[in-house]
Amino acid sequence: MAKIQEHPDTVVSSSMRIEGELKSNGNISIDGVVHGKVQTSRDLMIGPNARIEADVNAANATIAGTIQGNVIVKGALMILETGKIIGNISCGTLSVREGAYFSGACKMNEPKLPIMEPQE
């Protein structure tokens, strides 16, 4: 089977502006502006100065900037104090710090219940 090549981290600095689909097999860190779509099979970090007008898809995400769009995260989604999400979110686990802003619907994966051994 062909090996899936993991790319080095992608960094969109504060002076960069992207329009379109930003896709990677590695971690993505954004401090600039992205309009379109952001997708990674790894971790996503949205910095405090970032402005994202895009649907976002990642394994895990930490949000300190602004996202206007739907956010789908398989694992942990963390919205920090400066984070702002206007859109629907879907995630495995959610953590929201005091001061964060979120407006939209939230759907979380139901945790699997541990299998209990029958008591004799």
Binding site: Q5, E6, H7, P8, D9, T10, V11, V12, S13, S14, S15, M16, R17, I18, E19, G20, E21, L22, K23, S24, G26, D31, G32, G36
Partner: protein
């Protein structure tokens, strides 16, 4: 059959005679003798590469500098040929390929460990290493389209588009087998930062400078600024607008055991 193209361009006659003697004894020691031809003003590298094909050579070995290797690669183009490299001067490519000196390079060729590695192309010019852009003094806005998926803009002073790079410590950037070009764009930095980070800047490890953007693409069409020189080892190979593209696994290269990828 091995076809050795020797390019003494960067050597004096005396130095060349010395390396030629080491070369012949190494080729003989490792039993990889073949046709050895010397590039001159009359017999150019592209002509010699055509001769190699005419002689049905299975391997062309570039003996000289990185410029020699690039010239051989460009003359071979997309045709099927295994390429080897014996550096006569200090070479970053040799270090990446796990080659140290002439005897060790000859031994590497004798072992014939062939690896398919990525090649990159700026307009029609093929390259192995990296294209440099910008100068530390001028802040300009770069605009490009990447992989027919997104358009990016950024103010930058220095940048690099990397297929292969020598890294002093572990880095995923510059791996010629990862199927992507690494794009580094550094914004303007203060003179103090430039002084403090001078070693990083000299090695073009721009990703270690704060606020540098790092993208990974297969193809980019550089639109703006118009007329921006794109250089390879200090030599201008194209000017914007230009297209830079990765050709995955396009080069069959003889590599050493100690290669860096």
């Amino acid at each position: 059959m091995y076809y050795y193209i020797v390019d003494p361009e960067q050597l004096t006659q005396k130095e060349f005679e010395r390396v030629q003697s080491i070369l012949y004894s190494s080729l003989s020691e490792f039993r990889i003798s073949g046709e050895v031809v010397r590039a001159t003003g009359v017999r150019t590298i592209p002509q010699l590469v055509e001769n190699a094909f005419a002689h049905e050579a299975k391997t062309i070995v570039a003996v000289g500098s990185e410029a020699t290797l690039h010239e051989v690669i460009n003359a071979v183009g997309r045709r099927d040929m295994v390429i080897g490299f014996i550096p006569l001067v200090d070479s970053e490519i040799a270090k990446i390929l796990g080659i140290k000196d002439i005897p060790q390079a000859a031994q590497t060729i004798a072992f014939r460990r062939v690896e398919s590695i990525d090649l990159a192309m700026v307009n029609e010019y093929l390259f192995l290493t990296q294209i440099a852009l910008g100068d530390a003094e001028t802040l300009s806005e770069i605009s490009f389209r990447a992989d027919d998926r997104f358009q990016a803009r950024q103010n930058f002073t220095l940048g690099a588009i990397i297929n292969m790079r020598y890294n002093e410590s572990y880095s995923k950037i510059g791996d010629p087998t990862d199927g992507v070009l690494d794009v580094l764009l550094m914004p303007s930095i203060s003179k103090v930062t430039a002084f403090l980070k001078r070693r990083i800047l000299k090695a073009k490890y721009y990703e270690q400078i704060a606020l540098t953007s790092v993208l990974h693409v297969m193809k980019m069409e550089l639109v703006l600024p118009e007329g921006l020189p794109l250089t390879l080892n200090g030599k201008i190979v194209a000017k914007t607008p230009a297209t830079i593209e990765l050709l995955p696994k396009a080069l069959k290269m003889i590599v050493g055991k100690e290669r860096k990828f």
